[in-house]
Amino acid sequence: MMRNMLNRFAEVPLAAWLIGALCAVYLEQWVGDPLTELLLLPKIPVLFGCLIVLKTPKLIPSTVVFLILIYAVPICVIAYAVRKPANMIAAKLFSGPIWISAILHLGLLYLILHIWSDISAYRELTLKFTLIAIIVTLSLNLINGYMGEFSCSHPGFMALGAYGASVFSLVLFADDKNFGEALLPGILGPFMFPLGLIFGGFISAIGALVVAIPSFRTRGDYLAIISLAFTFIVKSLIENLEFIGGPRGLGSQPDFSNLLVVFIWTVLCVWIINNYVQSVYGKATNAVRDDEIAADAMTVDTRKTKMVTFMFAAFWAGVAGGLFAHVLRFVNPSTFGIQKLAEVLAMVYFGGLNSVYGSIVGAVSLSLLGEALRPLELFKWIIIPLLLILVMIYRPTGLIAFKEFNIRNLIQPKHIPEDEV
């Protein structure tokens, strides 16, 4: 019986699931409020009820009912109902260029996220940070997973990107006490913002050179401490630069990082990094990791491979930093310290090394878990580490390691199994 049910759902394509989820989030917007009153909930369960349940356990039944009525039932029913037309459309799109189909799926996904996060500002903020965490995790995975080194410099790269992008937009588009009046009309701001992010990314890529040149001359664990020293140096450098606010930080960045912008950059990052790691140039990082001498003998330019991958990863960390600064609209150097490092490392190793899927899973699950367990206060910092230790013991390379991210497989139509017809 159960297997039969699961078999039936096996023919539901991704598009149908997305349509189901879209209906669910619409439903939540329409009937969410009356339903919460009916179920005596204080407000709409923001993060799938985790916060409510942990604060007042006796609301568990009503929260579960809410989740079933709003999410589980509509998603399953609608996804199942539209599976046939969805399969047909997916098949039609699949026969054309892949990017059209991919963009349509992403559009649906964005719509869902947008409507879902419309309910509360807290949801939106959590969502943005989660998306940014995906960029950071994926870029660190390039170094620690794909290349097999141990780098501690990501907070430093993020800081460079955050300050680079912030200075860019504050100088050009904002009247700021540090940098004086805006040089360009503010209306251009959102359009020039990508340039600011890229500017920040390039600054951290240049910073990466400082780490890469001494550490890739020799092999061994030196990258670990050189990169750690780099993080300390960047933090301390920013603390000492008064014109960018010193230890007090830099605030009132223009509000350029709306959900759409963050979403687009995350998609871009996943797409480009995924392209890279599947190319021969990207696979060369794996070859360097698994056997550098063999890589050399097979004509692979190992030094260039390491340099490029490291700077590429730093670039994305910088972009993530820039987005982060504009979401929070405030940065200070202490954000980018050891704590941030532990957080990012945890996401990479939890999700899985050498895997785009893994990084997405790691970033999303740990970001959401971090928010969802907030009511537990101190104990959150016992539960999350314990969870990670368990994952490390039972799956030492992380949950979904060494798995290629294949867009085609994801969006292809699911055909009905032969024996069912």
């Binding site: 020799t218 664990d221 670990a224 101190l378 910092w381």
Partner: protein, 307 residues
């Protein structure tokens, strides 16, 4: 000149902490090829255990149950704390590292990092946010030698640290267990063939490293009596730097690198505004690594993180 000498004294004390912690770090790193990111927090817990033991002994003494002279309290505190912290170290090895013996090294580093966070949080959960004050075990006496002020505490801290470092050097180079450790650092697979189990060596390594961190914790508590749960974090990462800077497989190297780090930090703060301390200190370390890429005493080796 006196100002300079005064800073030498301070740097010796500050470097002692780094050296002792880096020593334990370096042992785990050299022998087991692991980054023990929990080490800084073991230092912190050692300091707290030391505080507990010392406070208990002082209270017993004050209540007149057993009247002990202060030097005996100090010695007992060190011994008991070392034993207790060594047990903690062994527990950490058992829970966080042994199951990951065949896993990538980085995974073990992550469990270490997580155990560290659990230790910090556990401390906060048990003792609350208030800071505790380490009892004054030693009456502070200040000597003035040619304008340089030296307290008996500082002398004692440096002497005790040096004693432990010399003892360690002796242990590793002269005893049977020490030899087994060095053999393991040299070749992982040969040790079981000699009839010594990897597990017992690993346990011993963690026990000794943690005991040394406990000594550092007590000495730190004597010099800077206010303890807090996050005090181990920075020490841990800096000792990590010192351990690798010293070179793999070199206990002397880690000790020297610890002192060097202490001297650099103190002297940078002496010459430049203190806000520039980290910036300049780590830039110097970066430069050192550019010119001595294998650390001070380490041999060139190539060890990738096994995946």
């Amino acid at each position: 000149m006196t100002y300079f000498l005064q800073n030498v004294v301070n740097a010796l004390q500050w470097g002692s902490f780094y050296a002792l912690i880096a020593l334990g770090y370096s042992m785990v790193y050299s022998i087991l090829m692991l980054f023990n990111f929990a080490h800084g927090d073991i230092f912190m817990v050692g300091s707290y255990i030391g505080f507990g033991v010392a406070a208990a002994l002082v209270a017993l003494s004050a209540a007149g149950v057993v009247v002990l002279p202060s030097w005996l309290i100090f010695t007992l505190t060190i011994l008991v704390t070392m034993i207790l912290t060594a047990m903690l170290g062994m527990a950490v090895e058992r829970v966080g590292y042994r199951p990951l013996r065949d896993a990538p090294r980085a995974s073990a580093a992550i469990t270490g990092l997580m155990i560290g966070i659990i230790l910090e949080t556990g401390n906060l959960a048990i003792l609350g946010a208030r800071r505790v004050r380490f009892p004054d075990l030693i009456e502070s006496v200040t000597y003035e030698i040619g304008g340089v002020y030296v307290t008996n505490k500082k002398i004692m801290i440096v002497v005790v640290s040096l004693l432990f470092m010399v003892a360690m050097q002796y242990f590793v180079s002269k005893t049977k267990w020490g030899m087994a450790m060095r053999a393991m650092a040299y070749d992982y697979l040969v040790v079981p063939l000699m009839g010594v189990s990897i597990n017992s060596i690993a346990r011993l390594t963690f026990a000794i490293g943690s005991a040394l961190a406990a000594v550092a914790g007590i000495l730190y508590g004597i010099a800077y009596p206010v303890l807090d749960p996050y005090m181990g974090v920075l020490f841990g990462w800096k000792a990590f730097v010192a351990a690798i800077l010293g070179g793999r497989g070199s206990i002397m190297g880690a000790t020297l690198a610890g002192f060097l780090l202490g001297f650099i930090e103190i002297f940078v703060a002496m010459v430049f505004p203190s806000t520039l301390r980290d910036l300049i200190a780590y830039s110097i370390i970066l430069l050192i690594l550019v010119f001595r890429p294998h650390g001070f005493f380490g041999e060139p080796y190539s060890a990738k993180l096994r995946l």
